[in-house]
């Protein structure tokens, strides 16, 4: 086994498959978790019927979706319509490759991991737009316009916010970032505390990119029926749904790695710490989702361009200045 793993090709294939299987499984049961959590929040039971505690619900859902009629509207652009759900899962999954779970357990230790991450979350708006445009549905069109506007707007504060960790650790590789935090303390509490603000903005921006409440304006089912997925049935809708969850889960994992020291923690093995931190962030996201109303798209844009962007722009000089200052005092 170990000799086989030395072959880079075999290793690559192995990690690719492990990641996909792992992420898909976790995603499936995160939907169960969210439904259970939401149910409890709303004094309901959540899923209970399929398996113990409703634990087999995701499998039942998948089976149901697979048996649904596959409809492509007459006026739709067939090729784009079918391509969009496949691409959206592909892009969401691509992010998984660079998430460092432990020093050894990461699929691809890219030295430009941060750029890869930003590039893929920027690409996420393409499948949404493709699918909606191809549907030839007005609700989808408005939803897609909102989704694209929101996605690309929040890309700006996201890029600027993640600059703070990059300045503080001096690397673009996510695993090196975690290693640096292991040595010098987590970014979330490291002076001059810009990491904390950067985390809040980065987290909000990734919420916005994953279209979660209070930023789920593109999906806004009470306004736009089902947003970009209005015309999608069966597993095509399922893939969009899956991509949203993958995106959310990976956002939590990345925040855990970049700001909360990733695998760093006492006693327990690193993987446990990483997963624990990610799960806590995901629970927080779920909690937020089921307690807030949604903003309007213009208010969301204001929040981005008039608050988040100037704030992150100011964060960069502050962080950089502190780094110079600390170095002058013999630190770092």
């Amino acid at each position: 086994m170990s000799e086989l793993m030395l072959n880079p090709w075999i290793r690559a294939l192995f990690w690719g498959l492990v990641m996909i299987t792992g992420v898909m499984t976790v995603t499936a049961w995160s939907t169960w978790f969210e439904r259970k959590f939401a149910g409890r929040m709303q004094s309901r039971m959540g899923p209970t019927l399929v398996g113990p505690l409703g634990l087999l619900q995701p499998i039942a859902d998948a089976c149901k979706l697979l048996q649904k009629e596959d409809l492509v509207p007459d006026s739709a652009d067939r090729a784009l319509f079918n391509l969009a759900p496949v691409l959206t899962v592909g892009f969401a999954m691509g992010v998984a490759a660079v998430v460092p779970f432990t020093p050894t357990m990461l699929a691809a230790d890219l030295d430009v991991g941060v750029l890869w991450l930003l590039a893929l979350s920027g690409l996420m708006v393409f499948p949404t737009w493709m699918g909606s445009w191809a549907s030839n549905n007005k609700y989808s069109l408005i939803a897609a316009m909102r989704a694209v506007a929101q996605g690309i707007s929040y890309e700006v504060p996201m890029v600027l916010a993640i600059m703070v960790p990059v300045i503080m650790t001096g690397t673009l590789s996510l695993s090196d970032m975690v290693a640096d935090q292991q040595k010098n303390g987590w970014l979330i509490y490291r002076l001059p505390l810009t990491g904390l603000i950067a985390f809040v903005i980065f987290f909000l921006a990734s919420l916005a990119e994953a279209n979660r409440i209070p930023f789920d304006i593109p999906e806004a089912e009470s306004e736009l029926v089902a947003g970009p997925t209005t015309e999608y049935t069966g597993m095509k809708f399922g893939l969009f749904y899956m991509a949203e969850y993958i995106h959310t889960l990976l956002s939590s994992a990345i925040c855990a790695a970049v700001f909360f020291g990733g695998w760093d923690g006492p006693i327990a093995p690193g993987l446990h710490w990483m997963l624990l931190k990610s799960v806590i962030l995901f629970v927080f996201l779920t909690w937020v989702r089921w307690s807030f109303l949604r903003l309007r798209s213009d208010q969301l844009m204001n929040l981005c361009w008039k608050y988040a962007v100037p704030a992150t722009l100011a964060l960069i000089p502050v962080t950089a200045f502190y780094t110079v200052y600390a170095a002058g005092k013999g630190g770092v």
């Binding site: 939401a38 929040m41 709303q42 004094s43 309901r44 007005k138 609700y139 408005i142 316009m145 909102r146 409440i213 209070p214 789920d216 304006i217 999906e219 806004a220 089912e221 009470s222 306004e223 736009l224 029926v225 989702r289 089921w290 307690s291 807030f292 109303l293 949604r294 903003l295 309007r296 798209s297 213009d298 208010q299």
Partner: protein, 398 residues
């Protein structure tokens, strides 16, 4: 002047042809409804959109038309009550009361004090249930079926469920009660019901504070403040009544201004008035009303006078009541405003059935603001405004 600026002008004429707004605007025409998650039933609005901003809105009600008024002309006075239950299906008690009050006035039937007292009590409890449903659906319009909105919705429905249980204990039905009849009530208060009412309403009044806290965060304020402003003049011109009128700054409540049942005995009836006329004002008015109705109900349930619950002879046959020729109008304050019943009785051979029964549903008038208020708002706001109007399509289309 751009199309959007024109749409935001103080009072755009909604009956202008869209081309006279801006012939070059190249607007997108989109249907909102009838099969849309947030039109509260089957209501259709044709929207002319510039991007996301509504330039013109044309409402098309009528998808739920069942011909109730025509049906009533073929039914005798004692048979009509269960039919009108289905009009405003969120507050059926008040529909029953409205028609029966009209019939009593026409037929000259005396209603005993106990029945009057019960009617007042049931009307107020029903108002609580109706406003709770509104609060839940409004939150869902703002917050989506997959988010915080649903949480409020679920809580509100839990409380409303308790009220439906109360009604079930009283009438045996949860929704279409058929408990009022010409001359009084059909079901007397069962033993221990008053204690139940106290328990349920006490719990609800505690929890309203929680819902208010849940809905007083900045996002809710941002979504409702200054959205969908109906000024007092427009409200009066379009015949708005109830919470909508009071939210626009007109102090008018039939319970106080034209008392019926035993409302004249309730001296300190608090009528909530807000001056802003936006969605937030409508929310505030309804929450105050919710509290006030709970207070009145708990007051009334303790001192229901003894006596018969139905005046006159018990109803044995459908054609028992014969009306002389004439006409009456009765207006009562439902959770949505003035529910009017205009009855023309034929007399003579046609004395068994109404010659014409006209129901004035408050929601129909509420929806009349759509072409005036929607322009200049985005689609998201349109949904919020529609939710804040609290239309019940059952009574709009009848």
């Amino acid at each position: 002047m751009t199309a959007i600026a024109r749409a935001r002008a103080p009072r755009p004429d909604p009956f202008l042809d869209i081309d006279s707004y801006d012939p070059e605007a190249d607007l997108m025409v989109m249907n909102l409804g009838p099969q849309h998650p947030s039109t509260h039933g089957v209501f259709r609005v044709l929207l002319y959109l510039d991007g996301e901003i509504i330039i013109k809105a044309v409402p098309y009600p009528g998808y739920l038309h069942r011909g109730v008024e025509k049906l009533c002309e073929k039914l005798t006075y004692a048979q009509i009550t269960p039919i009108v239950d289905k009009n405003d299906y969120v507050a059926p008690m008040l529909n029953e009361q409205a028609v029966n009050m009209a019939f009593e006035k026409m037929l000259g039937v005396e209603v005993p004090p106990r029945a009057l007292h019960m009617r007042t009590l049931l009307a107020e409890i029903q108002r609580v249930a109706s406003h709770l449903l509104w609060l839940g659906t409004f939150a869902m319009d703002l917050g989506g079926a997959l988010g915080g909105g649903t949480s409020v919705f679920m809580y509100c429905f839990r409380e409303r469920e308790a009220i439906l249980d109360l009604f079930e204990k009283l009438t045996g039905c949860r929704f279409h009660y058929n408990t009022h009849t010409v001359g009084g009530q059909r079901h007397d208060i069962p033993a221990g019901w008053a204690a139940e009412v106290h328990r349920v309403l006490g719990a609800i009044s505690d929890r309203i504070d929680e819902y208010e806290a849940m809905l007083s965060h900045p996002i809710f304020l941002k979504r409702t403040k200054g959205v969908g402003v109906i000024d007092a003049q427009l409200a009066l011109e379009l015949g708005l009544t109830g919470p909508l009128l009071r939210a626009s700054g007109v102090d008018h409540d039939l319970r106080r201004d034209a008392p019926y049942h035993i409302y004249d005995q309730i001296k300190d009836l608090k009528v909530a008035v807000e001056s802003d006329g936006d969605c937030l004002a409508r929310y505030k008015v309804r929450v105050v009303e919710l509290r006030e109705s709970i207070r009145i109900s708990r007051l009334l349930v303790d001192n229901v006078p003894e006596g018969p619950i139905c005046g006159g002879r018990p109803i044995k046959q459908p054609g028992q009541f014969k009306a002389k020729a004439g006409q009456v109008y009765v207006g009562i304050e439902t959770p949505r405003g003035e529910l009017g019943t205009y009855l023309i009785a034929g007399g003579g051979k046609m004395g068994d059935t109404p010659y014409r029964l006209k129901i004035r549903p408050p929601s129909l008038h509420a929806l009349a603001v759509v072409p005036y208020v929607f322009p200049g708002h985005s689609v998201s706001d349109a949904v919020a405004i529609l939710g804040s109007l609290d239309p019940i399509m059952g009574e709009v289309d009848r």
